[in-house]
């Protein structure tokens, strides 16, 4: 367990994806343990989301209902499912197109890369958990909780996807025989925006050297696809928070879509 935490930490710090670690053009981070941790972190965040139902009913006169416990359980189980299924749906096409454009990434490397990405997302998401629980405890507004959840998931998703694209850029660089040293432009701006020395580089740092255009394009498109699939998957798997007006169900009727509902919740908050 401690070893897994250390591996996750290496991914977050960017140690696992440094240029020197990617020399072979493969990603060799062991991810089995990280995967277990990621599932646990996703479950933890899911529990934070489900806490809304528990806390809301705890304040009411009837006390915590059976439905609330079921919602907590459902959210805890659904969050790992959400990210697992999204990955499962988008992975095959990513690998196929990745191979078509002639990237040297093996299927195992792609899998490891994506697991690392999900690990980054879940670590960020879980760290936002306490804030979410605090708002669950003090807010009765259901639309607000929806919007807050979407914002938090977007933050985590954005950071995870940024991590993915940066690592890819680095992978291409690492495979080049000898990168030419580039003279930094002698301007005032370069003083402030000085690129940190290599050992200071983080997991989110870009390499501003030309990247393998085609593979990069495939991954960029994939990032968009992943976001849309993830959003819609969260819609299919709903309810995560549990509407105060509806009895507990594992899943709801198939109708509407994610974007419409979020827009509605935001409008609701703004009194439209």
């Amino acid at each position: 367990m401690l070893k897994w935490l250390r591996q996750l930490d290496a991914i977050l710090r960017g140690d696992a994806t440094r240029t020197s670690a990617l020399k072979s053009g493969r990603i060799e981070t062991p991810v089995a343990g990280v995967l277990v941790l990621t599932v646990m972190l996703a479950g933890l965040y899911g529990a934070c989301v489900g806490s809304y139902a528990i806390i809301r009913t705890a304040w009411s006169d009837d006390g915590v209902t059976h439905d609330a416990f079921m919602q907590l359980l459902a959210s805890t189980l659904k969050f790992p499912l959400l990210f697992g299924l999204t990955l499962l749906i988008t992975f095959p096409s990513l690998y196929v197109f990745n191979a078509i454009v002639g990237s040297r990434l093996t299927v195992l490397s792609v899998a490891r890369l994506l697991i690392s990405m999900i690990a980054v997302m879940m670590a960020v998401l879980a760290s936002l958990g306490p804030i979410l629980v605090f708002f669950s405890a003090s807010t009765t507004s259901y639309p607000f909780m929806k919007v807050l959840n979407v914002v938090m998931a977007s933050i985590a998703g954005f950071l995870g996807l940024a991590f993915l694209l940066r690592t890819l850029g680095r992978l291409v660089v690492a495979q080049r025989p000898a990168p030419l040293p580039i003279d930094p432009p002698q301007s005032e701006a370069s003083d402030q925006q000085a690129t940190p020395a290599p050992d200071q580089r983080s997991a989110l740092d870009a390499f501003h050297v030309g990247t393998d255009q085609k593979a990069a394009l495939v991954f960029r498109i994939w990032v968009v696809v992943f976001s849309i699939v993830g959003a819609q998957m969260s819609w299919v798997l709903r309810p995560f928070i549990g509407s105060p007006d509806m009895p507990f169900t594992w899943f709801r009727q198939r109708q509407g879509n994610f974007f419409l509902d979020v827009a509605q919740a935001a409008g609701n908050l703004l009194g439209l």
């Binding site: 977050l12 710090r13 304040w59 960020v124 958990g129 306490p130 200071q200 580089r201 983080s202 989110l204």
Partner: protein, 220 residues
């Protein structure tokens, strides 16, 4: 006297504060400062509308609670984001900077306490009392932000990305802090109502209230 000198160091944002390695002593002093100064201001805040010892006591507890609880809730995200930005090796230093800033914030608040009392002595309106305290909180927060920038200067010099991290922290802390302050109401307490630690209908959402207030203003 020595404690006073230490406060002076905080207000002058001396670099030694964030760089020294005597963690235990530093933490003890900072926490004592937050509790002491925070509760002095809280006590002043609760003194509205005549002597209500219970309200004064509650408010004195709430102000340090507001600062520490907000900090505790926001810290995990700060930790993960600073790791992602590659600033983990400086995590101890940056945490010291943000914690020390809170001691500075409570010292600034404390120095405003006499104004609050004078204001209470001169106005009768409960709304005016609330407004004045909001103003003082805003002024202290701005001052504290200035302190934070000073504490962060050596960090930013060593790695410019600390600037981004600092703004992320301020956003997080502000977002949680506003709601925390809302939840912990009443800080002043309406003189006409019985004194309670929490307000019966207190739980709610500061941001939703804000939106409603603005909408009401706009729609007349």
């Amino acid at each position: 006297m020595k404690a006073m000198l230490y406060t002076d160091d905080v207000l002058r944002a001396r670099a030694e504060l964030t760089l020294s390695t005597d963690h235990a002593r530093w933490l003890l002093r900072i926490v004592l400062q937050i509790i002491l100064f925070g509760s002095i201001y809280g006590a002043a805040m609760g003194a509205f509308g005549g002597a209500r010892p219970l309200q004064i006591l509650y408010s004195a507890i709430k102000v340090p609670l507001l600062l520490t609880a907000t900090f505790a809730i926001s810290l995990p995200s700060f930790f993960v984001v600073s790791t992602l930005l590659g600033l983990r090796n400086d995590f101890a230093a940056s945490t010291r900077a943000i914690v020390t800033t809170q001691a500075g914030l409570s010292a600034v608040l404390c120095s405003f306490a006499p104004f609050t009392l004078l204001w209470y002595a001169s106005v009768e309106s409960y709304q005016a009392a609330i407004l004045f305290n909001l103003l003082l909180f805003a002024a202290s927060s701005l001052t504290a932000q200035h302190l934070l920038c000073n504490f962060y200067r050596p960090l930013i010099r060593s790695n410019p990305r600390h600037r981004l991290l600092m703004w992320i922290w301020l956003t997080l802390y502000g977002f949680v802090g506003v709601q925390m302050a809302w939840v912990l109401r009443p800080f002043i307490g309406h003189p006409g109502t019985p004194t309670t630690f929490f307000r019966a209908e207190a739980w709610g959402n500061a941001y939703i209230e804000l939106i409603h207030t603005v909408l009401n203003l706009v729609s007349g």
